[in-house]
């Protein structure tokens, strides 16, 4: 008899591994909950919940087409609602997109051949786009845009924003909202605002539910190289479909990270996919301090090591004050422990 049940110890389940591998998926990490679809005691399907995103959805081909996708998704939605969420997202392979749309999911952005981004429930991409539009009303053109995590806001970020602000009459800075970063979103966006306060033509906005970070994306693809390319493709798809039209943006600024192959692939995807949609991509070389590239990951590394001298060289005054304050203390402690 088909029934749904939680999969305990998904990391120790060979049958689950088998199921995921068949769909070219890896086990989603750090998920909040999951649902297993069982026929008697045989696992024939699975789905994971991370925040409000459904991940790692797979159903044994022998069982497809029997309405079991509806059973699985319904069970996931029940889980999500029990956790107080009435809005859900799925990033899935293009081949599965139709199945989800038949279950009532709406397409937000298409990053084929890698993935498709779908949503369901309360709230909608249209409402989000409308709210963005309201922010953009009256802003001079042409407008540029940056999308950043700022975990935390560094001099590197500052440099990028400064450049965009110098070259364009108006700049939108979207801060990725999803809270899987070490520094909580509320602090991150505050630091960004403080860090660019002196630039009158820069407007800081929250990314909302649609600008997703690479952290929510992974685990769908097994090959590391395609992961970055896929992330970039999805970023471009959402940006071109939702963000840019709503904000009236014609340019996207991105920074490089010379020794990071993944960043290169990511940027490559943007450079490939945005211009055909009418959006210019400006790639800016990262600044360095003492020959070292300034990046947020470098800052976090130094914080873990307790190298405050180095940190001071990498962040603006506003960020420094925060890092030295009580507010950042527990975050830094957590980072040290989580190795």
């Amino acid at each position: 008899m088909i029934h749904t049940e939680k999969i305990f110890r998904p990391d120790r389940n060979p049958r689950l591994q088998e199921l995921l591998t068949r769909f070219d998926l890896t086990l989603p990490e750090n998920t909040d909950d999951n649902v297993g679809l069982y026929d008697g005691d045989q696992l024939v399907g699975c789905g994971f919940l991370k925040g409000n995103m459904f991940q790692g959805i797979a159903i044994d081909p022998a069982y497809q087409g029997e309405g079991l996708s509806a059973t699985l998704i319904s069970a996931l939605i029940q889980l999500a609602v029990q956790r107080g969420m009435t809005y859900y997202q799925i990033i899935t392979k293009p081949s599965m997109a139709t199945m989800f749309m038949n279950l009532g999911f709406r397409r937000v952005a298409d990053a084929s051949p890698y993935a498709v981004f779908l949503e369901n429930g309360a709230g909608s991409v249209a409402a989000y786009a409308k709210s963005l539009q309201e922010f953009a009303q009256g802003a001079p053109e042409p407008r540029a845009c940056l999308v950043m995590n700022c975990n935390p806001f560094t001099l590197g970020h500052r440099y990028l924003v400064e450049k965009a602000a110098a070259e364009n009459p108006w700049v939108f800075l979207l801060v990725v909202e999803e809270d899987r970063s070490e520094f909580p979103f509320a602090d991150r966006i505050r630091l960004v605002r403080e860090g660019v306060r002196d630039l009158p033509n820069v407007q800081v906005l929250s990314g909302g539910d649609y600008v997703i970070s690479s952290r929510t994306f992974p685990a769908y693809f097994t090959r590391q190289e395609s992961l970055s390319a896929a992330q970039g493709a999805m970023d471009a798809a959402v940006f071109a479909a939702v963000v840019a039209p709503a904000l009236g943006v014609a340019r996207r600024y991105v920074g490089t990270e010379p020794f990071s192959a993944s960043t290169a692939l990511y940027n490559e995807a943007l450079t490939e996919r945005l211009p055909p949609r009418g959006i210019e991509v400006v790639v800016v070389e990262r600044t360095s301090a003492n020959g070292e590239i300034i990046s947020a990951s470098k800052v976090r590394q130094c914080l873990r090591e307790g190298d405050w001298d180095q940190v001071k060289k990498l962040v603006p005054e506003s960020t420094w004050a925060y890092l030295r304050s009580g507010a950042a203390e527990h975050v830094i402690e957590n980072m040290k422990h989580k190795e």
């Binding site: 008899m1 029934h3 749904t4 049940e5």
Partner: protein, 294 residues
């Protein structure tokens, strides 16, 4: 007493299957809020079952029964209070082990009937015996006097666990239990209803097992798949020969009475008292199958 050749289990939280139920040709539908519904959904399922019963009331020729949760769970009382007002034909009570279990349900049911102005004692009870203790207490349970008892059901799957036995295709491990229930039920003039054949795909095995079931005295069984229904119905239905014989038995008996004969014989054999109700039952089943024509 009702004839139930087949009792088809339908998950209580599945509107699609409930909608199809009438065309599936089982004598009784068992809307299940026990094993077929997860604990977190039982609250929604019982509302769905209730609404479904209200919507089909009077439109179904077949019997609508509801399996509640057993009396050791926190669910059974809500099952009764929520669903009884919609007047199912019967409540199926799983894992009955002692007469007290049935009296408990009977009491609550009587209370609900009073509160809602429903006809008294019309809703029947069908206990399922599926534990070692239940099997041993079969006769005691069958002799309870709630006035609602309308059959005794056999539950093989849970029983195997209770016995510490191993489930096999041939099912030898539940032989004793199956026969005991027939015996206890018949001793109290009740129809025994056999357990499901668990393998949905194995039609051959199901037919063989159902023939065995008929052989040992069952007049019907529960089924878990619509595919099993027609085959099972056929096995438990009287054949043309059976019907003819039953008619002859009754005619011979009638004639014997008219002529004032003390003992009556048919085809050289004496007609014993028990043969009369059995013959009547055969004709009842036949009548039911043929929609009133014989």
């Amino acid at each position: 007493m009702r004839i139930r050749r087949t009792l088809l289990w339908i998950p209580g939280n599945n509107p699609a299957m409930m909608a199809n139920a009438p065309i599936l040709r089982a004598d009784t539908i068992g809307l299940d809020n026990e094993d077929a519904v997860q604990p977190g959904d039982k609250d929604a399922a019982r509302i769905l079952i209730r609404n479904y019963l209200e919507s089909v009331r009077g439109k179904h020729p077949l019997e609508l029964a509801v399996r509640i949760n057993d009396v050791t769970t926190p669910y059974w009382k809500d099952d009764i209070t929520c669903i009884a007002p919609a007047q199912p034909d019967a409540f199926i009570v799983p894992k009955v082990e002692r007469p007290e279990d049935l009296y408990l349900v009977h009491e609550l049911l009587t209370q609900v009937e009073k509160e809602h102005g429903l006809p008294e004692n019309e809703i029947k009870l069908l206990p399922i015996l599926e534990t070692a203790l239940g099997i041993e207490n079969a006769f005691l349970i069958a002799s309870t006097t709630t006035g609602r008892l309308d059959g005794i059901m056999m539950g093989g799957e849970d029983l195997v666990t209770s016995l510490g036995a191993l489930r096999t295709r041939e099912g030898r491990e539940i032989d004793y239990a199956r026969c005991r229930i027939v015996s206890a039920a018949r001793a109290c003039n009740l129809n025994p209803i056999d357990t499901v054949f668990p393998d949905v795909e194995d039609i051959e095995g199901m037919i063989a097992d159902t023939k065995y079931s008929r052989q040992i005295g069952y007049s019907g069984r529960a089924v878990i798949s619509p595919r099993h229904v027609t085959y099972a119905n056929e096995v438990y239905s009287p054949s043309e020969k059976d019907i003819l014989y039953a008619q002859e038995v009754l005619e011979a008996y009638e004639e014997g009475r008219r002529l004032g004969k003390g003992a009556v014989s048919l085809h050289g054999k004496m007609i014993d008292a028990p043969m009369i109700p059995r013959a009547q039952q055969v004709l009842e089943i036949a009548k039911m199958i043929r929609g009133g024509k014989l």
